[in-house]
Chain length 272, copies 3
């Protein structure tokens, strides 16, 4: 059972930084492309929040699910946790439970790279947050808002992210509110980035601490895992070809691909 | 245990200057790209400081953590410091503690290249500092500020980094304050560069002084380390292939890759 | 110990002129790029001097430290001077002290190429000096300065490097002061270049004079040094491979790269 643990660490160590960087860069490019094409704030009180939040959260959720789905370890773990419902096949001891936990956290960590990058980039850009939070901006310091009732004020605020529908005396206020919202958005973005980085680093340290393998053993296991997969695939390929060749010979009387086909037989109905 | 020490010095000497230069150049380019896209000072009293500081410090923090994470020696050390909690496995003497300290400082030094470059470049550019420190600029010498109370003065100063919201009589003051803040920012930048360079040089000298190896010994250890890693990898590869081949022969009845496959066996359910 | 002396002369002769020219050209390009981006004189009395001096001196200091750090001989000397604190290991006679001095001057000479180029280029350009020395320009010959007190005069002089804040009657004076400062700056630059060239030439002559080797001897030593390094490396490589092969055989039970692997052993946990 140590092997699966080592497998996690191997894959974590080897392709970790490269693949994660690639995912992050793709996410950033995708976000820039995507938001420039499709995002246009509705500027209606009550809708702004849902619209902006949907653009913030749903792509992150989709990326999270894709992140889980693309890890082959997810399927391995699903399989194992299902199989373990039949207790006579394998006894789940505490070490295995620990390893399953560790594997789950490892998969989650990898799957979170893309959604967190999405959230960080969108919050640093600030467009979605500006639309979503426009109604809730604090405008107590502006005297011109005292003439309006609460619903009117919300309607005016909701129209701030759209450019053409603002009365001239509101232009300066709108610019200041936009700056303020962008400030909030970027501060959330930075907080997210700082927390995610620290949590990732600390959990990596912790995972490495809990590993029962020394550095050399770990290296050996990585090599061993790679070889095992490779050789098993080769052997399985060869084994199945030999098996099928034998069966075809029984059916048709010759080996497929052989040059001298002398004895062929017509398969009877029972053979099929 | 001398080997790990020598390993540090080897890696420090070999890839040191090249890799560090690359990191520094990438950081500078990234900073220029990044700040031109996302930075827009909120120009509100109380927020400027947080905003500017976040852009100064959090990227540096993230770069520091990434710098630590990308060094494989970090993980080696984490592992070792964890393992040493079991005293019967390895006795930690004073030499090993010294070596661990030295390794920690070596890793930290490398990890600090990117964040210090970020800080130096941003301080020399001055945009972030100008936003962060705008409220705290000294304006005692300007008589026009005597008419304002302290909060009003702070509000006016906070609006200095934004261009369109300044009254005409303040234009000259704003330019002078901007020059003054840029001067402070660049002086901090230069101080940082000078101190970092001197500390790096002196600590390199000190590390070389404290090394128990002469120049020739050091060279031999570098060769030895490289060979050890290389030969161990070869041996581990071969060893694991032999092991797996034996196991596959038990399962399928033949060695993968062999031409004459005469006896194959169908693995039973228990074999899997 | 003569070998290290010869080593200096060899390396000095071989890569000397080419590397130094390259360093100088890179420094000039870097200076032009750098100063066009970041330099803007604060134009405040008291700050100008610090600002201009920081741009003049700190890059030169950083380049000096980098120059020292990139010479492998620096580390060799640091090591040797540290080791000589234990008197029973090696007796330092007067010849060795002379050689250490010579080596130090050789390293310093190489390390000074970049900072001296920086200083010469910046002084010939004159922008930094103009900012730094603007307060201290001699304006006794201009009658209009008699009306001002000393602090007022300094404030006016400090604003000379900035273009837009000058009263019209000062325009001509400012142009003349700028010409005067540029003249001083370029004279300092030329003096520096002349002195550095002469000192470099004389010290090369002197070093060759003091050498106890004739031209043929010197050539022989260069060959000898190269061969010594090369053969030592070969021997170290072979020695360490033999050592490691033995250790791997103990661990895995076979020699890496051998064709007939009959007996392999599974290493126990204690072996790692």
């Amino acid at each position: 059972m140590d092997s699966s643990f080592s497998n996690i660490l191997c894959s974590l160590q080897k392709s970790g930084s490269f693949v994660n960087t690639l995912i992050a860069i793709l996410t950033i490019c995708g976000q820039q492309l995507f938001s420039s094409f499709t995002f246009s704030c509705p500027c209606q009180p009550g809708n702004n929040l849902y619209y902006g939040s949907a653009f913030l959260i749903i792509p992150a959720l989709v990326l999270l699910v894709i992140g889980y789905a693309l890890r082959s370890q997810t399927w391995m773990m699903t399989k194992e946790s299902c199989c373990s419902s039949s207790p006579h096949l394998r006894s789940v001891n505490s070490l295995q439970r620990k390893l399953a936990c560790l594997m789950f956290f490892s998969i989650t960590g990898r799957a979170l790279v893309a959604p967190l990058t999405w959230l960080a980039v969108t919050l640093l850009t600030g467009t979605y947050y500006e639309c979503a939070a426009s109604e809730y901006a604090s405008v107590e310091q502006y005297s011109m808002f005292n003439n309006y009732s609460e619903p009117e004020r919300q309607e005016i605020l909701a129209e701030f992210p759209c450019f053409e529908q603002i009365s001239p005396d509101m232009l300066m206020v709108r610019d200041e509110v936009a700056l303020q919202l962008r400030y909030q958005s970027q501060m959330w973005g930075w907080t997210l980035i700082a927390v995610a980085t620290l949590v990732a680093f600390l959990s990596c340290c912790l995972a490495r601490c809990c590993s029962p393998l020394t550095s050399l053993q770990h290296q050996y296991w990585c090599t061993h895992m790679r070889n095992e997969r490779q050789l098993f695939e080769e052997a399985a390929e060869q084994h199945s070809r030999v098996l099928i060749t034998q069966r075809i010979k029984e059916l048709f009387g010759f080996v497929p691909g052989s040059e001298d086909v002398r004895h062929i037989r017509i398969p009877s109905c029972q053979d099929w």
